[in-house]
Symmetry: D3
Subunit: 136 residues, 6 copies
């Protein structure tokens, strides 16, 4: 059967801050600039979850989008939406929530929910002008 | 010469329905949900046709976009636009018009119109949030 | 208190057809063109519901968006999404589902759910290139 | 001379929280829902500043866009971008930073920087689906 | 019958330059900045033509969009698309092609093609961030 | 460390013309159509610069976006924005500024500014409907 990639777009709105405890204020400011603001800032993150696999000849689906939508909701949206990523998402307690790191964390959350025949790629827009893509 | 991918966006507005004659109503409803509505529903499909090849040193084109536009019009838009995919497009008489299957059908329609040096990829948006990518 | 307009975007995917029973086939074809296809075609309709009123000094809201979202869901999305407008929506049994008429029907469905202090405007996109605006 | 409206789009990314000190936790939660998160969340705010006036027959401009860009930068972006609106923007120390209130505050900041012949309207997108419009 | 506004989006790609023959180079540079480049620069102009009128009870249309599309093509696209506005469009031989002036010129070209019952508004995007609106 | 692609969007507005001096007018017209206009036309080019590399474990960045923004500004925007590509950009004095060739030229300008560990891909939109992708 033909191999097709199915993409599903989702969103979450969150606060974050880029900062290293082991660096002094001057170095944090120099490297992270405005993103180091101690009171946080935030984004409307746009997420595209891309799943590649063979078309199921019975349904015509690679993956049922209703199912994929539920996976994204359970693994990402409920944990990230309207949250402070640094304080309220476990993985970022010791990891800077850069777009790069958030994409890897989302990949690692969603991958175990997929069938092993499915490949996964994550695209994350921090703003319409800055975005990242990750697959393992 | 450098190899470049040229992308051309097109559109068609169509009705469709997901349904298997060999399944009973309950199974059709369970698998296809709202998309099983017997009276059809529809979408503004957005299509991106991506052609990869070497730049022609004379023209600076991989493929003349006027030509690609005509191929898409003849092979896809005239057959799909303002149509009922299940009833009025030959390939879907026995094939569910899921986004995945539509993308494969479009690939198979356009490929023979291209030069053999050109690779083809199809991206099809069923909605801004749900889309698929296919190359053979 | 300042008067502000709050806009909420929603979507529904539906099939439709433009047709008058009292006209013959030639006249229907001449006036409605491809939109007269007897097997229907469809669109991803994008809807913007705009509510104007004074800011409530207690909440800072003109209208609670959670409430507006529910009104749109109950009055429009549940009735229109994944439906055939001509066959499955009461108002279009004897009214052509043009973008203009759909916008008026949506206005008339939502208006009674709003407080009398609130003005309403409906913007309906049939495609990204064709859209209409209506307020009574 | 003809009267034209000139629109300029800008952006700021900020954290915020909806909350009233004089309400208990249960009431705050009931009214503001997820937006009441004590650790804040955030948005990519998109701002459209619309200035109406007569075309200057010498330049063909209603207002020089380079000038309008500087006004938006000085009055809004430098104060709001990569900030926590509740903590770091004076006006929101005792005012909930709802989209409605933010639009009014932006109007009041920009209006004095414009010529008295110019009318002003503010459109503020909190997300692509939720936005507000304000003019005095 | 209800009064509805119908919007149709169109496009043209053109070169232009802002310049006054009666000003010296220094003043032209000071007022028009980069837009004064003697070799021209260009834009993908996005045009929204908005026509307001009563719904025709027979068709459900305010104006037949096929007709409006032809008016825009004849009055604007054929004259402006892939053209140098300063050199090749009559109205700009002695008028700076600012977005404001282009919108007024487009209004004056389209208005006589419409029925006298129809009101007209022109929205012209010079870039996604800079746009203007005009109605007489 | 995981390998991630970071994408940064930028823009430039420019005039151009497709033309070969060694072809006669008829051939130029036949091959390049409206794009052969001797007085030029223009576009709002949208550019996406995609850099792939390992995440730096100290910063969480593949590349500092402030740095990438400066590279794009220095290598592309300052040379191309509000310019006539044929006349004012060295590389196009003897090379047709098709989207394909512009993408290759941009690649060759940016590549030397990046670390040798970074892979580069260029996406260039000439219009929202026509775009190209290039990597060496």
């Amino acid at each position: 059967m033909p191999k097709v990639t199915v993409h599903r777009q989702a969103h979450f709105n969150a606060a974050h801050r880029l900062h290293r405890e082991d660096w002094d204020e001057a170095k944090n400011k120099a490297v992270f600039g405005k993103c180091n603001n101690p009171h946080y800032h935030g984004h409307n993150y746009k997420l595209i979850v891309s799943v590649t696999g063979e078309i199921d000849p019975e349904t015509g689906f690679v993956i049922d989008l209703k199912e994929l939508k539920e996976i994204i909701k359970a693994d990402v949206e409920e944990a990230f939406d309207h949250k402070n990523l640094n304080i309220q998402v476990e993985e970022f307690k010791n990891l800077n929530p850069t777009a790069e790191n958030i994409a890897v964390v989302i990949y690692n959350r969603i991958k175990p929910s997929l069938s092993s025949q499915h490949e996964l790629e994550i695209t994350l827009y921090e703003t319409p002008r800055n975005f990242v893509t990750y697959k393992a």
